[in-house]
Symmetry: C2
Subunit: 315 residues, 2 copies
């Protein structure tokens, strides 16, 4: 019993260590040319390794056209969904709750006024809707970029499930989490700062259950936290990887985050189930492509790692 559990814990510590010895790079590698579909599948997707591709989207008109002036002219009065928080933290743990942003519908030009400092508004504003909001809310912009990434689509034998548009303030932070997608993250202007942890570091990353709630931000800067009624608690990561509380989460000291900056014209391949924390320069514009991951042996093994992590921590 006790001896066996000690051996289980040793195994949990070993898996992330071995990942780094066997196949992970110390830093995120930069590629100077796009991989072929086979190279992408063999060298990156199958082994679940991230990379940044330079000069990835040079042929997209968006790269030169998407100034805030052009966007204002093109999208203008259209209503879009904006995440508003008092502090920049959307979908993050705050006051022992899982706190979602206020989803505010506003004219795109009003949003740009806030971003450009023409209008003072309480709160931090971020377009980050993630359910294919580029296609749904910004159809005028579609001619300025490709609808998918050809080498990725051919490698996976399918088209993306969502194409998302991101634009927001420097204070907006995406808290540490993982997605069930193979993700291509393209920066059009400005830069994104990623902190990444491989799925094999799961044993070092704390999850807890939180009451879900949403912010309501008022014009005077005050805000309410409104609990979602009758909702199941949400498992989320309470740890801030930029300032980890190691006395509370000592196991995180074994994690080995890697950081990388993705600049205008570059693209990050973020493999499925990698934990990521994201920040950006003010008014950074990005588009990302989500391709459904395959629920195959890697997912199956990750679920096992997840279940053993929970069993060993008594959660």
């Amino acid at each position: 019993g006790r001896w066996g559990m000690e051996a289980v814990r040793r195994g949990l510590r070993r898996v992330g260590e071995e990942a780094r010895e066997l196949y992970l790079n110390q830093t995120v590698p930069y590629l100077d040319r796009a991989p072929t579909p086979l190279e992408f599948h063999r060298d990156w997707l199958s082994p679940n390794r991230p990379f940044v591709l330079r000069n990835a989207i040079n042929h997209w008109p968006a790269l030169s056209k998407w100034t805030t002036g052009y966007l204002r002219e093109t999208v203008g009065k259209q209503a879009v969904s904006v995440a508003v928080t008092p502090n920049g933290y959307a979908d993050a743990v705050y006051q022992n709750r899982f706190l979602m942003p206020e989803e505010r519908r506003m004219a795109f030009e009003d949003f740009l006024d806030v971003i450009e400092g023409r209008k003072a508004r309480a709160g931090v504003f971020y377009i980050q809707k993630q359910c294919s909001n580029l296609t749904d809310e910004f159809p005028q912009l579609l001619p300025d970029l490709d609808s998918h990434i050809p080498w990725m689509s051919e490698a996976l034998g399918k088209k993306p499930d969502a194409v998302n548009f991101w634009l927001g303030e420097a204070a907006a932070v995406t808290s540490l989490h993982k997605d069930h997608y193979e993700n291509l993250y393209c920066v059009i202007s400005g830069e994104k700062h990623f902190l990444l942890l491989p799925p094999t570091d799961r044993p070092f990353i704390p999850y807890e259950l939180f009451q879900p709630a949403t912010y309501k931000v008022y014009e005077d800067g005050s805000f309410d936290v409104i609990d979602v009624e009758n909702a199941d608690k949400v498992p989320w990561i309470p740890l801030d990887p930029l300032d980890p509380d190691l006395s509370r989460y000592p196991e995180y000291s074994c994690a080995r985050p890697v950081q990388c900056t993705v600049r205008a014209g570059e693209m990050l391949y973020l493999p499925s189930l990698w934990f990521h924390h994201v920040q950006q320069s003010h008014s950074c514009i990005a588009v990302n492509f989500w391709y459904d991951m395959e629920y195959d042996i890697k997912y199956n093994y990750f679920q096992f790692l997840d279940s053993v992590t929970k069993a060993a921590s008594g959660v």
Copy 2:
């Protein structure tokens, strides 16, 4: 402690079950055309799923030429390595030992005399050497087949590490084990019978440590078992999947072996780390290609599954 270990054991049972729900077929699928390199990587190698390809090697002269008459004429007096056992079980557990065959050097034509029943000899004979014995011991036969499988070599970006020649008696059995190779198994004549278990069934497959020993088979049918001196004990699977001792290994009742027959002209893709038990028709001839597996996230996860299996069983 106790509660956590119970949860670990539930996780161990769940992983094989989930593999079958998510991505494994109930039986080994048969393909009618070779996959492209990308299809092979995406649909079979990356998710670690086996298949049998029909009409896989129709263009090999070997398929029509390799009669025992032609082999006798072509290889004739050349000395080859033959595994000799009293009972057909080479590299298997017997009398609480890990028993390896007597490696007998003999002229190939003498071996054929035994196979064809022209000479009575005590013991079971099997050419199964596995360290690229086709290239090393049967160079005369190389013009009769391809030196590698093009779609596999392109998919993996490398050539095979070993090409092996197999020919033996119906009584010769390959005991349940796994290899660190992506394996293409081509049957030239006769048929091979495979019993397969995915790596995710590891928790149900018992390993124990055994003193290694080799057989010495005498002309009168008697034999000795000779311990290898000063050798480390060898971890091996004592269970016979054709007649499992469930009172001794009750966990094997959760395993879900699949069986398949590979006939002349067909090729089995046996993914890395799949457990396999093999039998064949008398004088079946086969050639297999071993490509080194990648020691990437799947291997990493398997090692974790292996370590937790050991921890939970107290081995």
